[in-house]
Amino acid sequence: MSTGGPTIASIKNTAFYRDVYEPAEDSFALVDALAAHAHTWRRAPPRLCLEVGCGSGYVVCSLALLLRGAGAAAQLLATDINPAAAAATAETLEAHGVHSRVDVLLTDLALVLLPALAGRVDVLVFNPPYVPTPEEEVERGGIAAAWAGGERGRRVVDRLLPLVPALLSPRGEMFMVAVHENEPEELLALMRDAGLEARVALQRKADEEQRERQQRRQQDLQQQLKQPQAR
C-alpha cells in the first residue's frame, strides 16, 4: 500500500438505507476476490472500471481504494437503477474520501454508456440480483432490484452478459457473483462461447447461520414490499 490509507471500504462508513442492499457475504467475497487480484494492477494499471448495480457503494468504494493502493490512475463509473442506491453509493464514496474518483449514474445496466464504452472497460464488476424469484418480483423496483433475479436468478444476469464481450477491453476482466441456483457452469460456458476466458476465482459456502439470517432478512423485506399491495 503506497498511500497509507485504508485498503478496502469499511462497513462502518458504508451507507445503506431501507431500500438499499446491505453489504453481505456476497459483497465481501467479491471484494476479497478484487483484493486478491489488485497486485496485478501495479504492473498494468486499469484505466477504466465499471460497476453495474453498485447498491450501497461498498464494492466500488473498495475498488477505488484498491486502485489507489496499487497506484493506478483509473476512471471509475458506477451505475444503479435504484435512486436510493445511487445516493448511498455517493455517500459511501464521500465518507471514504474517494468521491472525486467515481461518477455514479442512475441508469439501467450500462446502456447509456454504450457505444462510448465499447472495448474500453478494463475491470467490470457485477454483483447481480441472483436470488431465484417469481418473474414479477424483478420489475418491482426499489430494494427488490438488488436481489430479485427471476427464474434461476438469471433474469438480469442474462441481460448484461451479452453486452460483456463488447464492453471489455482486450485486457479487460470481469468479476461477477453467482450462486449455485444460477448454474455457474453454464455461465462459464456462455462466456467461453463468446470468446472469453472464464473461471471460478473464489468459492465460498455461505454458512448455515448466515444463510438463515439472509433468508430471514429477505423474507422481512418481501413482507414489507407486499404490505402496500395487501392493503
Binding site: 484505466r47 463509473l77 455517493a90 472525486s100 461518477d103 455514479v104 449514474l105 441508469t107 462510448a116
Partner: protein, 122 residues
C-alpha cells in the same frame, strides 16, 4: 459528474440517432482537486471527443481550452493543466443533461445524473 464521464454518455431513448453529446444546463458547479496524472491524460486523450468537451466546459464556465487539440499539445504543461482541470476537477452537481435530438431533459441532482428512461422511451 465529471466532464470525462459526460464525454461518454449518449442519449439512449429508442429511435434517437444523434444522442451525443448531451447539452449541459449547469445550475451548480463544484471544483474538486484531483491528482495530476499526465500518464492517464495521455492515455485518455485520443478517446476524448474534443468538440464535445469544449462545449461542455463552456457550459460549466470553464475557459481556456483550445477549440482544437493535437497530440503535440500533450507536451505542453500549460495545456495539460487545463485539460486535467476541465476533464477531472469540474463537477456538475445540479442541473440537467439535455438530449441534443429530442430536447428531453435528464436532471442532475447531488452530482448524480438520472438517466432512467420511461417505459415509452425504452
Amino acid at each position: 459528474m465529471k466532464l470525462l464521464t459526460h464525454n461518454m454518455l449518449a442519449c439512449h431513448i429508442k429511435g434517437v440517432q444523434n444522442g451525443f453529446p448531451f447539452k449541459i444546463e449547469a445550475e451548480k458547479v463544484e471544483v474538486q482537486e484531483a491528482d495530476f496524472e499526465p500518464d492517464f491524460l495521455q492515455h485518455i486523450f485520443p478517446r476524448i471527443q474534443w468538440a464535445a468537451l469544449c462545449e461542455a466546459a463552456a457550459a460549466m464556465g470553464v475557459e481556456g481550452l483550445p477549440a482544437e487539440a493535437t497530440e503535440e499539445m500533450l507536451e505542453d504543461d500549460a495545456f495539460m493543466k487545463k485539460f486535467h482541470h476541465a476533464l477531472l476537477e469540474v463537477h456538475l452537481q445540479e442541473g440537467a443533461l439535455v438530449c441534443p435530438e429530442t430536447g428531453r431533459k435528464f436532471p442532475v441532482s447531488a452530482g448524480i445524473p438520472n438517466l432512467l428512461l420511461t417505459e415509452d422511451e425504452c
